[in-house]
Amino acid sequence: MEALGGLAIVAGAAGVLWEMWRPKLNPAKPVRANAYTQDGKSLVSIAEGKPDTDVETMVRHAVDALGGIGNIVSTGKTVVVKPAVLTSDPGCAPDPRVVAAVAKLAKEAGGTVIVAESSGGGDTRYCLSQVGIASAAEKVGAEVRALPLEEGILMEVPKGVSLRDVRTFPTIYNCDVLISVPRLKRHTATAVTMSLKNMMGVVPDYEKRRFHSTDLSQCIADLNTVLKPDLTVLDATFAMTRTGPTGGDMVEMDTIMASGDPVAVDKVSAQRLQELEQQLGISSFNVADVRHINAAAALGVGTSDLSQMVIVQENLS
């Protein structure tokens, strides 16, 4: 009888401890509707410059052509700018001037700006400082955060096909506005890496490993149903062709694209990249077969249908 009582106490204590330490499943982060639309269609702006055009001017034109950053950022909002920094190689990260220009725009609109990243191929703080983004962002008054130093939080993925839940970081979960700043690049596994694939950098490393060992393209699409950038500013000043996300050939394009719809901007920029590769005579990929763009469109993250987009082209001198 005494033994039974002891067992009950042990079981009760174990239950209490499990309740204290089990990972808490948080509700999904609410996704806001696209703030940049025209007659219900997704706006995509393309600012094309010359080799000597000021990068900040191009970013301003691209964002203003959509309707301005004021549509999403207002005074007191916490804005996270997420550059795509995989390794310490400056070629595979977006131009620091683009990141700084976006941070400056958000700052001018009254937001508190945090430049945050979780690099997959090296120490995040080292990578951010090595590619020049840390110093450029600090110069315009943004805070630089290495996400892997934070403890992850578990979040539901209600619309997920491959993912039921995913871990992210408190900075990302609690921010008001998320801005994605990728570079236009090829990728050996997923054909291209732009805005949708950039969201791989707001989850911890073990989640990235899980994505790779299940179904990468579907996981990227699932992730974007809960962590969708409110604005994407795509750096195509130099695009990485032939291969990627590291070690490809850099080709000058002098273009900045922006959109509130990550699927639309990925589709349009992927087409540009395909055209560029065909001009260069490199064995290219097929835009219609990029699985993560199609999967994200099927889940309603955005539209990959060109007839459902309004493309605004600006040529700067």
């Binding site: 310490s88 090296g122 080292y126 596994a189 997923t190 990468l216 070690g247």
Partner: protein, 200 residues
Amino acid sequence: MRIARREFLKLLAEGAAALAVFKLVSLIPSPPRTEIVRPPGAVEEEYFDRLCVRCGTCLEVCPTNAIVLADFSDGIEAVSTPKIEPTVGPCEFFRGRCEDIMRCSRFCPTGALQLVEREEVKIGTVEFSSDRCLAYMGKECVVCNEVCPVHGANTITSDLKPVFHGEKCVGCGICVHSCPAQPKALTLRSKGAKRARWLR
């Protein structure tokens, strides 16, 4: 200090017994010492064993914690000497926080680890098992190629499978660290390691 004859003989016998036990334990078969993956700049194994005083300085200064202490599985005489364990952390001597610094060699007090040029270093070679590789199972994964810092050490076939070129590999273990497969498809071996020369 005076020691009684009885005490002295007792101490002598104890010392002899300890030596005998040590010699007996070292007779237990252990893998050849050359199979241990040493940190960059390590001198040849026969000198390494004599020069390394097991002070642990290299462990403390390593920014990635890639250096761990060898244990009994590496042979009793190698216990507490440093070895590279890429599953814990990659060695960033070629690219990363230790690029052109090589803290472990710089801080080694005895010269068991010598400060040498980056181009002279080859820690080992990565061994690839395609039966554990996610890409060979049809998954979309080329992480090893994404993170490899050495041009041409890892290439991708047209059907998106990684191929390793051991002669170009420097053995930094970044790919081993990043490999998402469980168990990992990559193992770092000391094969082909370039050891530093000990200048007497």
